[in-house]
């Protein structure tokens, strides 16, 4: 296992370098210098001042030198300072990550809890009345723009019925609440965002689960299990389900970039102060250090998600860590 882990970690290095290269390339696609944003709004700024600013950000040097500088600073978690409020980009990102992470983890948990039973049911009762409904749900779920669903639910649960708050993660009088009131307040605020960010995954995961489960159910060891007289319950849950869950672990790991990308949309709909919102604001204000920082960190989080999924898979399935040569 240790050997597998070491191999897996080593293989991340070229990916990390590639990620930073692409981020750097994307930012330099933009016409003009990144510092133009700072100077454009101020017509009085002199040419000398412009050059001085460029020097501070190292823009007077050739691109490869700029890249290496940026990379070495990033190794120390120094992503530079935001153009907008001059705060450290790392601080800005660090304070936003918990909210986004919490919502996405809750969403993943919800997806798992709902989609796995749906998928199993669909596989076991293939062709039944309910299986058709699940299939229909999967297709409609895939096709529903989540931001539209968010609008409809806001309209219905938020405005018409007034059951749930429409934006933010806490109420205005949050500070004056006791502990349990705070918990309830945050859960009320998070209900819609978590549901919306889970919705996209529900359709996908339940379909994977159904495919995975039906494939397992056709295999020899299931027939053996039935033949030796195990109850249907034992066959399904002890033998089939455990094996069918394996690919789902990987899929959950692979869904990290989608969830992060989706957070841009739902965080701006629900005015949630998370990573996606920070990215959106950064992009709108052309705050290059923030954009570069989040692009890199988003990709690194994805790598971590994949790594965790692989490790989890290797942990439960010895065939992987012995079989794969890395």
């Amino acid at each position: 296992m240790v050997q597998y882990l070491a191999r897996r970690l080593l293989s991340l290095i070229p990916l990390l370098i590639g990620i930073t290269l692409i981020t750097f390339f994307v930012i330099h696609l933009a016409p003009g210098r990144p510092t133009d944003v700072l100077t454009d709004l101020n017509p009085k700024i002199s040419l000398q001042a412009r050059d001085r600013l460029a020097k501070i950000y190292g823009l007077d040097q050739p691109l490869p030198a700029q890249y290496l500088q940026w990379l070495s600073r990033m190794g120390k978690l120094d992503f530079g300072r935001s153009f907008v409020d001059d705060r450290s980009v790392w601080d800005k990102i660090a304070e936003r990550i918990p909210v986004t992470l919490m919502i996405n983890l809750l969403a993943m948990a919800l997806v798992f809890v709902v989609a796995v039973p749906l998928g199993v049911f669909g596989a076991v009762r293939q062709g039944s009345f309910w299986d058709h409904w699940i299939t229909l749900f999967v297709f409609v779920g895939f096709a529903t723009p989540t931001f539209w669903l968010a609008l409809l639910l806001m309209q219905w649960l938020g405005i018409q019925l007034g059951w749930l708050p429409l934006s933010g993660i806490v109420s205005l009088d949050f500070e004056r609440m006791n502990f349990w009131e705070k918990v309830i307040d945050v859960s009320r605020h998070l209900t819609l965002p978590v549901f919306i960010s889970a919705f996209g995954g529900l359709a996908g995961i339940s379909r994977y689960m159904k495919t995975s489960m039906s494939e397992i159910l056709r295999q020899d060891f299931i027939r053996t299990a039935r033949a030796k007289g195990l109850s249907e319950r034992q066959v399904l849950y002890k033998h089939a389900l455990r094996n069918a869950l394996l690919p789902i672990v990987t899929i959950l790991g692979l869904s990290v970039p989608g969830l992060l990308g989706g957070s841009v949309i739902f965080e701006s709909i629900f005015a949630i102060p998370g990573l996606g919102r920070l990215f959106y604001d950064g992009v709108m204000a052309r705050d290059y250090p923030v954009v570069m920082g989040i692009l890199t960190i988003g990709a690194v989080l994805t790598l971590l998600g994949n790594l965790l999924a692989d490790l989890g898979y290797a942990w439960v399935d010895p065939r992987i860590r012995v079989g794969e040569k890395g």
Binding site: P14, L15, G18, I19, I22, V26, I27, L29, A30, F139, V140, F142, A143, T144, P145, F147, W148, L149, L151, L152, M154, Q155, I159, Q160, V256, P257, G258, L260, G261, G262, V264, I265, S268, I269, F279, Y280, V283, M284, R286, V291, I294, L295, G298, A299, V300, T302, L303, N306
Partner: protein
Amino acid sequence: MNGLKIGTVIIVVLILMAFFAPWVSRYEPNDIQITQALLPPSGEHWLGTDQLGRDVWSRMVYGIRVSLLVGLVAVGISTLLGLVLGAVAGYYGGWVDASLMRFNDIMLCFPTFFLILAVITLLEPSLLNIMIIIGLTSWMGVARLVRAEILSLKERDFIQAARALGASDLWIVTKHLIPNAMGPVWVSAILGVAGAILVESGLSFLGIGVQPPTPSWGNMLLEGKATLGAAWWMTVFPGVAILVTVLAFNLAGEGLRGRKM
């Protein structure tokens, strides 16, 4: 129920409506009538009017053009890229394959929506840029698919035969390998159109996609968000349009997959 048939019929209807938009719509999509603002659906305005008094049905019909165009062009770009990169990687193998697949892995690490958002705002949100960028960020699946197909095809006897007859690499790849690998590529392209339409509507909804006054379903929903609670028709109908269109392409794609296999 046959998904492929239902999907195809809806797609054909959509294409016809997009083509004959001036006849299908009942008003000019950008005809502002302030006195007619925010009217609920009626015989005059089937799906109501928006905050500037423009006819929602007419704007939705013209929105089909945007969605279909983005879907087709973006998928055209990503499929072409995926075909070329996947074919090169699969056919030549070795370090070419290794480095192309590494590049593929790296691109897959980025939350695509982050990447698209960054590039579009850095350049400039326009219909053309959106199509190009969606295309440039969604070729990875196709490339993997094509590579896998070609890896298995290139060992077959008929390829050996072609090589023995003196066919060039380019000839073998374009005349023998790619045509035989196209089945799954078509499926992924049709599903890709659905994906691209969703991405475009999301971008336009954030205000960085198709810019007003050009009607797109996404930017209509953005306008609907501002009048949420006062004019449900501005929110409900464009969303239904997206849903039906994406559903149609998904049904067609999955139906085709089912038939091929």
